[in-house]
Amino acid sequence: MKSNNKFIKIAVPVLAVLLSFLVGAILIACIGGNPAQAYQYLFKGAFGNLSNFGETVVKATPLIFTGLAATFAYKCGVFNLGAEGQFVMGACASIFVSTTFTGLNGVSLLIVSLLSGVIAGGAWGYIPGILKITRGLNEMIVSIMLNYIAILFMGFLYTGPFRDGNLPQTAAVTAKLARFVGNTRIHAGIILALVLALVLYYFLFYTSKGFQLRAVGLNQTASQFNGYPVKKLMLLSFIISGAIAGLGGSVELHGTQFRLMAGFGDGYGFDGVAIALIGQLNPVGTVVVAYLFAVLRAGATTMQVGTGLPTSVIDIIQALVIIFAVAGSAFVNLPHIRQFLANLSSKKAEEV
């Protein structure tokens, strides 16, 4: 039964991805492209050589962070749509620290700066959390509003107090995350992301606090009746979710972008949500799907150059994956479908 459940949890997103590629191929054919050739360029762009592969890893890093942020919040039943704002605020805090505490040397500055990102993200996640548990506000609306505020605030920073030179952008940070694979841009952030994913996985599925958190996400009333501190756990998961996204922003700043400018973090929040949902709210699944999204993003440019097809074809494929994955998950949960699948597996069990 359990293996059956696990199988479905993997089969649904895989099918969703395949289906999306199929629809994408049809779409490409419709606008006069050659699907096979397009996909060839896509994968060449993503894996063709070491530097291409490096780019996909670089692109995957921030997506893993926002995906994990979304996963962690949803596991506890709170919908954090504010990962983008938390990501941006994390980066803002890091810029502040990096340009203010110039007396510190490289590594300690980097650590302080990353920590400040964690704290800023956590604080930005605290707001919707506390408003939800004390005032009963819809956390989705609050976190979305906070996204816009954070982005405007970042805009204020790079055009105002932290502007560097004529262009609307900040100065580059001096403390940078180490690059360690040949001459690719892969930086230590990916290791942080992977370690974080593992830690979260073990926390959620192998500790009793993680158990409680998941219980709250599945049934708040029963959790309350069974003595769990429901509101505290919800607030905690919001803060941690925000902190993860904030760390992501800080890592992106110190590892890839180095400065704040228009478009920093654009779309990472919603992509994180999509990744979490497609990854079936599992930290490991999140990493895999984040990597897939990065492949699509990195390959899209090569495809555009090679075939003249717009990159937004790939955006569509990405969007279709979420449409199919969510619909698929709902479908296998329909009462009679669930019954059917349960029968299927019990028959299998009998045969064995």
């Binding site: 989705m140 919603f270 555009q304 717009p310 937004s312 955006d315 969510v326 709902a330 329909l334």
Partner: protein, 313 residues
């Protein structure tokens, strides 16, 4: 200070409040119709983006902004029927699927725009809808210019408020409609077609949200760009909560949010020394404060957001 008391300033402020409130009002009404049938749709932003694009394309190609708005409505319906099918028939969680729409619809919109106009960065311009002053009424001094010299969409939006009130409070169809959002099983046993009503609700929601999006590109600004909606769908969502699921309340909430939007634009024009980003935060901050202080207590339809299966045991 005297700039603020300037009659011209006030008049401009009122006019742009009415204009800025319109998309929020239309989309909040869309959500109202959806939630009254128990369908929470947080995909409004996405539907608006799609409506904005379709509206723009049609208006650009035909030179008829009104046709664009109509097409926006159709586009909204098409997108929202994906949501309708997956939530009503497949029983997908409404919140999750709404979010999926928020990711899916803007991607399609952006794709179609690039197909049409290529990857070039120059923005295509469409004609904006002409204002249509209402004869006689528009010549009333002061009020005439403020209230009766607008585009037809604005009249439509404000007319929808009393119409919706009458529908929900005075008609049998409205009563039946509300019963679906309150207690679908009871409604079903009373012979009310629950599933059909829910689909209808999604169609209305899609059409209105599509119009709300198309308004942005046919009546407000003459170009389409990704992110043109900028969270208005979510502001509309809060307008429904703040307006306590009543058409009149939704109108007040939309006007309030429209006012803050108008105010920040007017202030930007007047006050170039303050960084515009700080002023642009006003509508979002205001939404937060309004919600935090007035938006509490669950008052929505009792079965809001819950899936409905007739044969559930």
């Amino acid at each position: 200070m005297e700039v603020f008391l300037n009659w011209n300033f006030i008049q401009e402020l009122i006019l742009s409040t009415i204009r800025m409130a319109t998309p929020i009002l239309i989309v909040a009404l869309a959500e109202l119709y959806s939630e009254r049938a128990g369908m929470v749709n947080i995909g409004l932003d996405g539907i608006m983006a799609f409506g904005a694009l379709i509206g723009f394309l049609v208006s650009y190609s035909t030179g008829q902004p009104l046709l664009g708005v109509l097409a926006g409505a159709v586009g909204g319906i098409v997108i929202n029927s994906v949501y309708a099918f997956c939530t009503i028939h497949l029983g997908a969680e409404q919140i999750v699927y709404g979010m999926a729409i928020n990711i899916f619809a803007p991607a399609i919109a952006s794709f179609l725009y690039k197909i049409k106009f290529g990857i070039s960065s120059s923005l295509a311009q469409a004609t904006l809808m002409q204002e249509m002053p209402i004869p006689v009424l528009s010549s009333i001094p002061v009020i005439g210019k403020l209230l009766f010299s607008h585009t037809p969409i604005i009249y439509l939006a404000y007319l929808l408020v009393p119409l919706s009130y009458v529908f929900f409070s005075k008609t049998k169809a409205g009563l039946n409609y509300k019963a679906v959002g309150e207690f679908p099983k009871a409604a079903e046993t009373m012979g009310i077609p629950v599933v059909r009503t829910k689909y209808l609700a999604c169609m209305i929601c899609g059409a209105l949200a599509g119009i709300g999006g198309a308004y942005l590109t046919t009546c407000y600004i003459s170009t389409y760009s990704d992110g043109v909606v900028s969270g208005r769908g979510f502001i509309a969502l809060s307008a429904v909560i703040f307006g306590r699921w009543m058409p009149g309340g939704v109108l007040l909430a939309a006007l309030l949010f429209g006012f803050t939007d108008a105010l920040q634009i007017r202030l930007q024009v007047l006050n170039s020394s303050t960084p515009y980003q700080l002023l642009a935060m006003i509508p979002y901050l205001c939404t937060l404060f309004v919600l935090a202080f007035f938006g509490i207590k669950k008052a929505g339809p009792a079965a809001n957001g819950r899936p409905y299966f007739r044969e559930e045991r």
